[in-house]
Each structure stands twice: as structure tokens, then as C-alpha cells.
Symmetry: C2
Subunit: 355 residues, 2 copies
């Protein structure tokens, strides 16, 4: 397969593998240089192909956000998986145990009922001790214990279980609040030390603050996801340049109702409604002055900027989306491109599936 991008039917997701590999290596070099481990989050690409490349480049393992993702990656031969999500309910816990039979599995908990579930399904089994991180809310305002004392309580419950192993602390900090997270984690370390409990690892996430992760005093592992593709929101916060963005959406202009309006065949079912603080729904390569000002399900409206020339009916445009991770999730397949040619089409193996 080596066809021209222009021959592809639209809308289509293109991934420039040279840029993706460069992004993988750049992050790994940064992690190596600053002495922390990298555990990339695969929710961005959902492809065993790239997960293997990330591990080959030096990642200690991968991160998944749901069981389906972890199951697909386990079947694809990824040996070390951290599932950064409380697992609840008999069915999911059964799947988790099955997963732990196949790979070195780490999970998280931010409350006692979740630890009790892990304890219940692992006790008496022949699987290796299940590694459990305690999730901490260090400013992100999502999941996580609110205080180091709560973390300590959950840790002790983990340590009391016959087949659970305390793996450390985990957090997903709010973008731009890295210093605050670091401080929170430092205080937790002091609390744990005072209690005589060493913390084996501290794992932190987020591409926006990846390039200053080396400044953190209380982090041993980092879990960036978007960094492999980058996107418009990462460019906006300075984490990437447009030229480093590996994922683009190829769309066709299907209508030119007015001089200043072009309609493309990419709407919310392609680009999604994610704004992430951006003005409009994506960056149009070679039409930087114009904006995608509205989306409906299968239509995108491009409004011309001052003095801008809009593409004509039938012309194709490439768009860097606001948020790469959610675009990947809309498509059954992505096209891999290199040097402007399509080299392969891969199924987005880990999309779909319940939880």
C-alpha cells in the first residue's frame, strides 16, 4: 500500500508515523535525561502498533484508561499495564483478574470499597500480588483522595490484603498545576515517612506539563498520552509546534454557499465538540487565517479570515484537531502516512467496547 493521500475517501484520520516516532523518542529522551520512567497512555492512539513502539523506545510499560483497552493491549503482547481507573462490579473485577493472569498489572484505588473489591477477587487466587496505586487529587478535582491521611488509610487497607501490594501514589494533575501537585505529593511523602511507610513509586500524568516534569521533586514515573500525536490544544499551551502534530483529519469541501463560507465533510462525529479552550474546532493547515466556526454532526463550517482564500468545492483540507485522543476514538481505522504517502491502514483496535 503506497497511495497518495489525495486518493483517500474523506473524512479520514491520517497519522504521520515519522512525526509520531519523533515525538515518542523526544519524550523518552527527556525522561531518560531527567531520570524518570515513562509509561505512555495509549488512550490517545488505541493501537498496539504504537504501544509496542513506545515500549521499544524505552517506556517501562503502558497506561490504559479502561479494561477494554487493557485487554486488547494484553492480547497484543504488551507485558506491563497500569490501569488508572477504579474497577468496580463483579463482571469488571472478573475481567481484571483474568488480565492479571496475562500481564504485570497495576491498578488504582481512591476509596476503601474499591480496595475491598480487589482484595475479594484476588485473595486465594494464583495470580501474582496485584499492584495497587492510591490515587490522589493533587489539584485536578477529579478522582483521588483529598488528603495524605486518607491515602495512608487506603494504603494500610491494601497492605492488609493477602494478595495486594502497595505500588505507590498516582495522580492526574490539572494542566498548569504541576508545582501544586508536586507540593501535595511532597507533603504526602512526609506523612508516609512519618508513618514508616516507604512509597515505592509516584506516577503523574499529562502531556501539557510533560516538558517541565523534570522539575518535579516527587515523581518517579510520567504518563503522557497526547504527546505521541500532539494537537491544537497542546500547541496552544506550548507543548508542541503545529509541525510536530502527527494526527490530522483529511476532509473535503462539499459546499461553498458564500464567498466567506466553506462546508467540509467533518463535523462533531469526526472532530468532536471538544474545544479545550480553543477558538473554533481545529487548525486548518495552509488556511491558518480561517476558522472552523461551527460543527454539526457531519458538517463543518469554515469561515474565511480577512483576505483569506477558501478552498473550492471538491478540494481537500487537512485539519489539526483541538484534541487528538477523542478524534481517534470516532474512527474504526486510521491511515499511517510517511513522506506524504499512505503506507498502511490500521484498525483502531482498542476503541469501542464497554468500559
Amino acid at each position: 500500500m503506497s497511495i497518495s493521500i489525495d486518493k483517500l475517501d474523506t473524512p479520514a484520520v491520517l497519522v504521520d508515523i515519522d512525526k509520531a516516532f519523533s515525538n515518542i523518542n523526544k519524550a523518552q529522551h527527556y525522561a531518560n535525561a531527567h531520570g524518570f520512567s515513562l509509561r505512555p497512555h495509549i488512550k490517545t492512539h488505541k493501537l498496539p502498533y504504537f504501544a509496542h513502539q513506545q515500549v521499544k523506545a524505552g517506556a517501562v510499560g503502558i497506561t490504559c484508561q479502561k479494561l477494554t483497552e487493557a485487554e486488547i493491549m494484553a492480547q497484543a503482547g504488551l507485558p506491563d499495564i497500569l490501569l488508572t481507573y477504579n474497577i468496580i462490579g463483579a463482571h469488571k473485577l472478573g475481567r481484571m483478574v483474568n488480565l492479571a493472569r496475562q500481564v504485570t498489572l497495576s491498578v488504582v484505588a481512591d476509596n476503601i470499597p474499591v480496595v475491598e473489591g480487589y482484595d475479594r477477587v484476588t485473595a486465594g487466587t494464583d495470580i501474582a500480588p496485584l499492584r495497587v496505586f492510591v490515587e490522589c487529587d493533587t489539584g485536578g478535582g477529579r478522582c483521588g483522595v483529598q488528603t495524605a491521611d486518607e491515602a495512608l488509610t487506603i494504603t494500610r487497607r491494601i497492605m492488609s490484603a493477602p494478595n495486594l501490594q502497595f505500588a505507590g501514589l498516582m495522580t492526574y494533575p490539572a494542566a498548569g498545576k504541576q508545582a501544586q501537585s508536586d507540593q501535595w505529593l511532597g507533603q504526602a511523602k512526609a506523612v508516609f515517612e512519618a508513618a514508616g511507610l516507604p512509597i515505592p513509586a509516584i506516577t503523574v500524568g499529562g502531556t501539557p506539563d510533560l516538558w517541565t516534569a523534570g522539575d518535579m521533586q516527587n515523581m518517579s514515573e510520567y504518563r503522557p498520552g497526547t504527546y505521541i500525536y500532539m494537537d491544537r490544544s497542546q500547541v496552544a499551551v506550548g507543548a508542541a509546534t503545529f509541525d510536530e502534530c502527527a494526527l490530522t483529519v483529511l476532509a473535503t469541501v462539499i459546499s461553498r454557499p458564500t464567498e466567506t463560507r466553506a462546508i467540509i465533510d467533518a463535523g462533531t462525529k469526526t472532530l468532536t465538540s471538544d474545544l479545550l479552550g480553543q477558538d473554533g474546532y481545529g487548525h486548518i493547515i495552509d488556511h491558518e487565517e480561517s476558522r472552523i466556526t461551527a460543527l454539526s454532526e457531519e458538517h463543518g463550517t469554515i469561515s474565511a479570515g480577512a483576505d483569506a482564500t477558501l478552498p473550492g468545492i471538491g478540494e481537500k483540507v487537512r485539519i489539526i484537531p483541538n484534541h487528538a485522543c477523542v478524534v481517534t476514538n470516532m474512527f474504526d481505522h486510521v491511515y499511517l502516512v510517511s513522506n506524504g504517502k499512505v503506507v498502511d491502514r490500521l484498525p483502531v483496535a482498542a476503541r469501542g467496547g464497554v468500559s
Copy 2:
């Protein structure tokens, strides 16, 4: 299959078939009473199951937004399809001709190059004349000709083609601008009459204004989509009650970090970021005072309203999403429920696929 909803793994999409059938019948009765045809848009459900029910109830055919949807529906035996989207490019035009061999196909055009494509691929074939509607921008600001004179020019080009047939005018009006659309269409009728060209049909869409469609003077066919499921945005504009909403998302509370915060396993990859003018990301049944104030990809944050009791860890909630059509599109399967029991699980047959 007759299992309790509580036994389902989450997140899951549930469709109450009794409510969906009631919604189908209510709209059909309204159309019958007001003397216009109904041609439901299947982008909302993407299920042959419901498309057949809509036709059985009296719909003259169905509407699709992309070729993939139309191909799946054709294969499922739906005999009459309107594809309300300009079709461009050799590959898609080839698929369109193939579709026209299987069903009574109508398409749209809002510019000459699109009509030229239709002409080129249908001329000399053995398919029945392809029915082409001219799409008009009657206030929606998306696709469509801007003036009746433009519509006339495109109509004449359609009529000059050996195997195309002018089917009428088509518009997707902005919600709440029905009277403006009606006026636009009335003026177009006058222009066409003056030119000696009768307009065979005028097809108009949109669930928000469905229940006043009978007031339109210049419409013969209506294409509602969301009406079968309804959703929070339709309730907000008065087109439905919460009790009429047939589609709900079942989610589990996976964390309760604080007294006023609950985290559920439904984020943007379930509910999507569509706000459609709403406050928060969905209506939580039995927790009406509380709001889904934030979503990340696999997490939803519920913030407690005043005096509200939030559900505990492991408890399930049902959510009426802001926008039903985009939620359906996120899932490979939906569960059909009746009287509180799961009666079937259907693949979302027409999701995925390029364009």
C-alpha cells in the same frame, strides 16, 4: 434475554422501546393530521430495527446523512432513501450509483459541480432517473443556495441531465427559525412559478420545530431525527418531556472524593462534549438538583446541588444526554429495554465507516 438493567456493565446506552414507539407514533399522527409526509432521519439511531418501525408506522421513507448509513439501510431492506448530503468524488459517486440500483434514491445538491458529478455517473446507466433536491439555506447558515435564483439555475442544470430528475427543494432550517424558513420557501415557490417550473416537493427537517411544522405553508415533507429518542436539549426547547426521552446512559459511580462530588464512568467518550446550550452534560434521573459539571474522556464529574444527596460508590445512575444522536454514535451496541428489563442488544449497524 430478559435481564435486569442493574446487571448491565457500564457505561451502556439503553433505549426504552415503548417510549421510542410512542414517539414514532406521535410524530406520525401529527404529520398525518396536518397533511405532510414524514421521512425520519436515521442518523439518530442508526438501527435498521427502528428504521423499519418508522416506515411501518407510516413514514414515506428514511433520511440518511452519509453513504455508509444509506448502504447499511439499503442492505437491511429499507426501500426509499433520501441522502441529504452533497456527494463528491469518484469513489463516493460510484457507491451512490450502486445504491441507486438497490433502492429509490434521492440526493441533494447546492452547487453546479455536484450536479455535474451526478450527471456524469448516471448518464447512460440503466438506473432509474436519480431524484435530486436543491438544498436551500433558509436561515440555517450551513449548506444551501442563498437565493431562489440560484436554486433555479441548479434546477435547470438538473433538468438538462438525461438521467437526473428535479425532486424539489430541501432545507435544514436553524432551530427556532421555522417562520423565516417558510417565508424563504414561499418566495422561492413564487420565483419557480414565474419561471413555469413546478416544485414537486419541499422537504424540511428538525425535531425542535416538529410540533409546529403543521403551521408551515411551504413544506410537504418533514425529516425529524432526534424525535425518536428525544434528549435534554429537546426538553429545553419544549419539544419533549423528560418522561418521553427514550435514550439514557447507564453509568456507575466509581469515586466519591468529597461530600459534594461524585465521579461516574461516563465522560466525553460516552456523553460527548455537546452542550447545545445546556448547563452541564446531561440530566441525571432521580438526581435532578445535581449537575454533570465536567467531563474528561472516561470520567464525568457530578457536583451536588443544594441539599442534594449524591449516589454512593458502586451505585448506578441513568442520564438523559444533551444530544442523543452523538451518544448513539459512540457505542458499538445499544440495549433495548421494556418495562425496566433488557430485552435485546443491537449492534449500532450504521455507525463507523467513512462518510
